[in-house]
């Protein structure tokens, strides 16, 4: 299980150039400028925090902070 703040910390740790304070839990991360290579970095950080890898087939579902939290809650 991970928190909204942990996802935001992961976004910053991944070196993604966005204002995390402006991202709401249901916002599409792409709308804030997160691109496909940013996601690769973010998924690596999340894997360290959450202890499991997001499978390739689930990548397209991880468009919001809420979806990421849900993935790690399951």
């Amino acid at each position: 299980m991970i928190t909204e703040q942990q996802v935001k910390d992961a976004i910053e740790a991944a070196g993604i150039d966005v204002d995390v304070s402006a991202i709401g839990p249901k916002d599409n991360l792409g709308d804030h400028g997160v691109d496909s290579l940013d996601y690769f970095n973010l998924f690596l950080e999340l894997e360290d925090i959450g202890g499991k890898k997001i499978p390739d087939e689930d990548i397209d579902k991880m468009k919001t902070i809420e979806a990421i939290i849900q993935f790690y809650a399951d």
């Binding site: 070196g15 150039d17 691109d35 690769f40 998924f43 690596l44 390739d56």
Partner: protein
């Protein structure tokens, strides 16, 4: 002791303009300038073969190296996985003939991708020292334009054609080693040719590089009894800006010493490290440089180069 005496390169003049092409792939120009880094992708002429690129790089090396004659070359290695024709005979034999190199030369190809320069340096150094040879040339020439699907977003914006030639001999400018190498065949599906085209699982390649290369560099530093603060430059394979950045982030305090230079070349496979050496290291004030190549296989190698002050 055998080491690096000089490096030269050949980059084809014609190049694709990534900023003009990026929209067709559904990405922004910022994606190119900030994440990929490659503004131009040089392309060899359709009539040119891998051996032609190699010949041009060697000719430039000889021209730029005082006292180095074709007649004195006694070993030639070409690092390529996209050699002439269908790969048989080996491209190095074709280059021997095209350049008129001595028939007494030892010439062979090495089948490696982005790790190939680090491997090639050690293969050639060891070969020359064990056989008592004096002048060797290590060529990298792997024109991926031969295998790129121009409609494949994963690869079409990344790879550029180039060739380099490195002169190895006694009384070198740079000493080679120590080094560490690695292989993980579980990555065989991440970068491969399928039919006649390259396919790439970008996430798998990115994960491999981000997770494995920094620890490999740190292990090499420990082996060499060095701190990263004592290294003047890190010349790692230029897969993309994003990959270089993901690795350099693991070196707080030394991040700015990781050279990023892919703008006019793209990812040139095994040529990316010698291109950095030619442009940023030879003739610089650097004394200790880390080189690290990683990619298809997966395969990786990291080495220390030390300026010869004798």
């Amino acid at each position: 002791m055998i080491g690096i005496k000089n490096v030269a390169s050949f980059i084809p003049e014609y190049a694709l303009d990534n900023l003009q092409r990026v929209e067709a792939f559904g990405e922004s120009s910022e994606f190119i300038t900030k994440k990929i880094g490659a503004l131009k992708l040089p392309r060899k002429d359709d009539t040119e073969e891998t051996s032609d690129l190699a010949v041009k790089a060697i000719e430039r090396l000889i021209e730029a190296s005082e006292g180095f004659e074709k007649s004195s070359v006694d070993a030639l290695i070409i690092v390529t996985q996209n050699g002439d024709g269908e790969g048989l005979p080996h491209t190095s034999a074709i280059v021997q003939q095209k350049l008129g190199l001595p028939k007494s030369i030892a010439a062979f190809d090495v089948s490696l991708g982005c790790s190939g320069y680090v491997y090639g340096l050690h293969i050639l150094k060891g070969f020359m020292e064990s056989a008592g040879l004096k002048n060797g040339i290590l060529v990298t020439a792997d024109p991926y334009s031969k295998i790129i699907d121009p409609d494949d977003k994963n690869t079409a914006l990344l790879f550029g054609d180039a060739a380099t030639a490195t002169w190895l001999g006694n009384s070198p400018a740079w000493n080679i080693g120590p080094a560490l190498f690695g292989t993980d065949g579980e990555g065989e599906g991440a970068l491969k040719t399928s039919g006649s085209c390259l396919t790439m699982n970008g996430r798998q390649v990115f994960d491999f590089a981000a997770k494995n290369v920094a620890p490999n560099i740190k292990a090499l530093l420990e082996k060499a009894e060095l701190e990263d603060s004592q290294v003047d430059a890190f010349c790692i394979h230029q897969g993309s800006y994003a990959i270089v950045d993901a690795i350099s982030r693991r070196f707080k305090g030394s991040q700015q010493k990781f050279i990023r230079d892919i703008g006019s070349t793209g990812n040139t496979v095994s040529s990316s490290i010698p291109l950095l050496l030619e442009k940023h290291v030879l003739g610089s004030d650097c004394k200790k440089v880390i080189i690290s190549g990683f990619g298809v296989g997966f395969s990786w190698g990291t080495a220390l180069l030390t300026k010869n002050t004798n």
